[in-house]
């Protein structure tokens, strides 16, 4: 890994970078790239927001009738 990392390399390493498991050399290469690449800064922001948006949009609540039928099911099966 050299300091001449391009966006595609950075994207490939992004998860490992955010999880803190990259070597120091790789981490420094990514950070150097981010200081001069507004595209990657924007990309990282959207990459990091993706889990949050999906989490909120799929936070299914257990409907009350299902909680009630779970109780009944378990009472019958036990």
């Amino acid at each position: 890994m050299t300091a001449q990392l391009v966006c595609r390399d950075g994207v490939e390493l992004l998860m490992d970078y955010l999880e803190g498991v990259l070597s120091e050399t790789e981490r420094e290469a990514i950070e150097a790239h981010l200081t001069r690449c507004p595209r990657c800064v924007a990309f990282v922001e959207s990459y990091q927001q993706t889990p949050r948006i999906l989490r909120a949009a799929t936070a299914a609540e257990l409907p009350e009738h299902l909680a009630a039928s779970l109780r009944q099911f378990l009472a019958e099966e036990r």
Binding site: V6, C7, R8, D9, V11, L14, M15, D16, E19, V21, C37, P38, R39, C40, V41, A42, F43, E45, S46, Y47, Q49, T50, P51, I53, L54, R55, A56, A57, T58, A59, A60, E61, L62, P63, L66, A67, S69, L70, R71, F73, L74, E77, R78
Partner: protein, 201 residues
């Protein structure tokens, strides 16, 4: 507060294993919402999630004797729930869906992002651009269109917010594989959100 309500999960599991029905009911009420949400996220279906929810707690009840308290009860219950979900999946014929590969990031011949910063950032605002109901429908579609192996890792790690270690153990793969699968899922869903928010990747 009854004694059972104050007890931790591991204590309740021990009581339940010894035949205390109230202790088991307490465990059900503590964990049912989380198990249901996990099951819904894995299947995107209320009916399937209901089946998995029931199978999970029935299997947990029958398997309580096997819970030794070496791990946390919640971790053990996750394993029971994942097994129930995988069994359930095997019995279903999966609907054929269009893959999300078209939404992976694009690069020019020099390996640089093909899109402009403003467009690259748009996915971050998908929840402001789409209304809640629309977004919920499309999020469900996004999960449905992920390959199973990516969806499982993404749901556990990013949606249920388990640690990479816990996900690795649950899926029986190493941490690097968890990160790789979650990464692929994030890339696809990020691009899908951009697309929903009006940007072509």
């Amino acid at each position: 507060m009854t004694p059972a309500a104050a007890a931790n999960d591991e204590k309740l599991a021990a009581l339940a294993a010894a035949g205390d029905a109230a202790a088991f009911e307490m465990l059900v009420s503590r964990h049912q919402a989380r198990v249901y949400r996990l099951a819904w996220r894995l299947t995107q279906s209320e009916a399937d999630a209901q089946d998995i929810l029931q199978e999970t707690f029935l299997a947990a009840y029958r398997g309580l004797q096997l819970f030794r308290g070496a791990s946390r009860f919640s971790t053990w219950l996750y394993r029971v729930a994942m097994n129930a979900a995988l069994m359930h999946r095997r019995q279903q014929s999966r609907r054929k869906t269009e893959p999300l590969d078209a939404y992976l990031p694009r690069f020019d011949e020099n390996g640089q992002h093909a899109a402009e910063p403003a467009d690259l950032r748009t996915a971050s605002r998908a929840d402001e651009i789409l209304d809640q109901k629309q977004l919920a429908e499309r999020a469900r579609e996004g999960l449905e269109r992920l390959p199973d192996m990516y969806r499982d890792a993404f749901v556990l790690r990013d949606l249920q917010e388990l640690s990479t270690d816990d996900v690795a153990e649950l899926l029986g793969i190493d941490r690097a594989a968890v990160r790789q699968r979650v990464h692929r899922a994030r890339l696809m869903l990020r691009g899908f959100l951009s697309h929903l928010a009006g940007v072509t990747p």
